[in-house]
Subunit: 503 residues, 2 copies
């Protein structure tokens, strides 16, 4: 094997090496089975980087001219050479043409744009839906290592629906939410989102109708749309969805599923009234429609009273209840649960054997211990006070700095304030201008089926931003709003509502 | 409030309590807003179990007659009563009628039956595909608690494709498999199964053709079938799939995807030859078809040489590579990875925002440290020796005890021996008879598209059963086989291949 490299020419060094080896293998100068020097040896010999040799070898392997075996090193493969050389007819797959309707059906609204704004350095983010990082649940982790090491076998594998000990604990936990269920009606999942996904897969055929509050939780809209559902909006009122419209839609369209977040709704913070809860169950019963109740926030109540889930009043088993530890402990655990009819838990489990099999064993063990030793309850009590304080800080700051025309809800719990912008102000423009000034927000559009309906709304999260930045961030945001309003008033066109002929 | 209970009558106590409270609320005797005693108080007063009172209150809540508020206790709600009383028209949803094709499309073969046999107490299980619990990777867990507590913020949330530090580590890790990729081509997933699911969702429309080796990995068959794929079998030979049939299927049916497990195939233990690997890539290139390469076992090589993945030779970017830590560390971590074109990683991530969002942060942290501190390499080296020893034990035991007519492969790596049963013996019958004698096996049927083709095969796992039970378990299994063979020979019907008219 002879290799000469020339640093003065343009061809990259690794390519020079690869080409010379290649021609010598094909010519037979380097025999089949020839043992190559290690990357380090050859690099030292040629006076080049080890990476250069690695890349040369990589190229040759891709051509099928080299092969590596532990213990035998790198070897020339003559026989393979001819077959690989005919590269003319080969091409990269045209991916776009191969993608499924599932991938294409998804709501194409680019929410990632706003999430990226929120992730920029030194940005005060009101855009996320994440727990505070200033108050980590360290009690949840203390002692875990000893637990793991004393019983590592327990970490090997979990049943699909979760460890039965944790399912028992969750059945008792549900009693605190006035829900009485058997452990067989509990399934541990990797976050409430996985519950939405399982339900979407279990029920939705392309073209099926799913009813959803408008506004609603964006990823739920995406999940159902991806499965090919035809979504229909039930408008939100101050006390939950409009029951008259719900009933008309039930009569006319025979939907497959009703998706609702009845308590501390994301994004609009509303709690469904008891009267509407009763009516919703009554209608679901009458038309025999499952309700998917998404309840990640009900424990985070600020006014000294908790609202029991719909599931509590569910006599007929219509309700598939979802909840999560992401908002009360940490999303990084990837842990939530479903409470539903035993038959459904069985079907969801059989689907899940094809997804992530089961939730992380360590997370399950951590959460079980955190609940059983009573530390979870203390922690939730603590963050409830903490988040209430943050909500009040944000509300006070908005009262002080917001311009006339900006209105907002004051939620009794949860993570968000929902603001209606002054007339004529676009949430998208505000989001980009605010980001330039170091504040991230989430515009209302993704939460709506008809995106433009959300253009006058923004969602403000008060749990994630550093506490000492909330007031400052709101002041910046309000300044941006005021500036945009002034600019808007100056150049407001007189004919912005006219419709032009399409030519 | 007056409650009298009568233990002599048939009506359950909780119902007696609920009915009396109900009638008193409706009559107005118990006023709206009435503060009920706590469950414990009422239970003590009436001399019943607390659960009895809990159930009575539950019933009343379901009727909307009671409501609970933390701090305010349990309260009567008069107003709601009339609305709820009309229960005649309500009914449970007819679930079967509501289920999606996704749920119905799944392969209905009941593999859980065999897994349940394996989970019974005191059964020696050769049926599972699970790591040994006798040699836990305890080094992976040591020091983790300190890590977590010193940086709990790192556990809050992870990017969808995984922590970028771990993606970098995995890009280097892939170099050991002779694969050179950029961290942006890596996605951390919750096990290789999630990778199959993401690919199925990204590519498969109902009716699309997917090519799959026969036999193949059962959950992969299920995943594609659930998405509505039409699966076509490429028969396995001793050196991988039949390339002539593959090409004919490519020409005739224009499939969307080829699924393959080229190294230490599950279930049949085969390694695809270098010549076939080159041919496969060439064909995939020519017809521009993506290859889903499932590679959970390649690190578990027993003969001192590792086989580089297909991905190593993938010049055109056809290969979507999947691997997992479930077989080398522990499945309970729920951690695997995809290596593929950056564009695909982006699309897979956008789908995954609707599934489990990201993998457990703690697992990611554990695995990253385990690799970086060099302990992972030592551990894999250890279990490689361990599993080789177990394979040899099983092979020797089979050689000693198996009856004439039972043949099997001796795999160079991985988890399984694939056995062909003596003629006329049914794997299903063997599985149930073996289970009765305390040994669990997996019959071949689930691994085939046409189930009856698998009836002469069984898969034997040598990693999970306790080491000192392998020989004993094989002896029992062989005894059962011999007995069934004798019974079979005695009552073999002379006309079992005749086809009768359908009347």
């Amino acid at each position: 094997m002879r290799i000469q490299i020339d640093k003065s020419i343009k061809t990259p060094l690794y390519k020079q090496i690869a080409e010379q080896i290649q021609s010598q293998i094909i010519s037979g100068e380097i025999p089949d089975g020839f043992q190559f020097p290690s990357e380090r040896q050859l690099a030292d010999t040629l006076g080049v980087n080890r990476t250069t040799v690695l890349n040369a070898y990589k190229e040759l392997k891709a051509d099928g001219l080299l092969t590596s075996h532990v213990g035998r090193g790198t070897i020339a493969v003559k026989e393979a050479a001819p077959a690989v050389r005919k590269t003319d007819s080969r091409k990269e797959p045209m991916w776009e043409y191969l993608f499924s309707d599932y991938l294409k059906n998804r709501d194409t609204f680019d929410v990632n744009k706003y999430l990226e704004m929120a992730n920029q350095k030194d940005v005060i983010s009101f855009a996320a839906g994440i727990a505070s990082f200033e108050n980590p649940p360290i009690q949840a982790f203390k002692g875990m290592e000893q637990d793991l090491l004393s019983n590592p076998k327990g970490l090997l594998v979990s049943p699909v629906a979760g460890f039965s000990s944790l399912r028992k604990v969750m059945a008792s936990y549900m009693q605190k939410r006035s829900c009485f269920c058997h452990p067989s009606e509990i399934m541990i999942v990797s976050g409430a989102q996985e519950g939405i996904d399982l339900a979407a897969r279990a029920f939705v055929n392309p073209g099926d109708i799913v009813l959803i509050e408008e506004p609603s939780f964006f990823p739920a809209i995406q999940s159902f749309r991806a499965m090919g559902a035809r979504l229909m909006a039930v408008p939100m009122e101050n006390d939950g969805m409009d029951m008259k419209i719900l009933e008309q839609l039930l009569i006319r369209y025979h939907p497959k599923l009703i998706y609702t977040m009845p308590t501390y709704h994301n994004p609009c913070g509303v709690c469904m009234s008891t009267a509407k809860r009763i009516r919703l169950l009554e209608l679901a019963g009458k038309y025999a429609i499952p309700i998917l109740e998404d309840d990640p926030y009900s424990e985070l109540s600020f006014e000294g009273q908790t609202t029991a889930p719909l599931k509590t009043m569910d006599k007929n088993g219509n309700v598939i209840y979802l909840s999560s530890f992401s908002k009360t402990i940490y999303p990084g655990l990837r842990l939530g649960w479903i409470c539903a009819d035993k038959k459904l838990i069985h079907h969801f489990s059989s689907i899940r054997q094809l997804v992530d099999l089961h939730s992380c064993c360590i997370s399950q063990q951590i959460v079980e211990r955190f609940i059983v030793n009573g530390e979870m309850e203390k922690y939730v009590e603590f963050i409830r006070r903490e988040y209430r304080e943050r909500r009040d800080m944000m509300v006070d700051a908005l009262k002080q700095y917001a311009p006339l025309g900006l209105s907002f809800t004051i939620p009794d719990g949860g993570y968000y304030l929902w603001c209606r912008l002054p007339d004529g102000l676009s949430a998208d423009l505000l989001a980009s201008q605010a980001a330039k000034n170091g504040v991230a927000i989430l515009p209302g559009m993704p939460a709506y089926l008809t995106k433009q309906k959300g253009e006058s709304y923004i969602r403000l999260n008060f749990t994630f931003p550093p506490k000492d930045k909330i007031v400052y961030g709101i002041k910046i945001l309000c300044d941006v709003i005021k500036k945009l309003l002034m600019a808007h008033q100056e150049d407001e066109p007189w004919n912005d509502n006219e419709i032009n002929p399409i030519l």
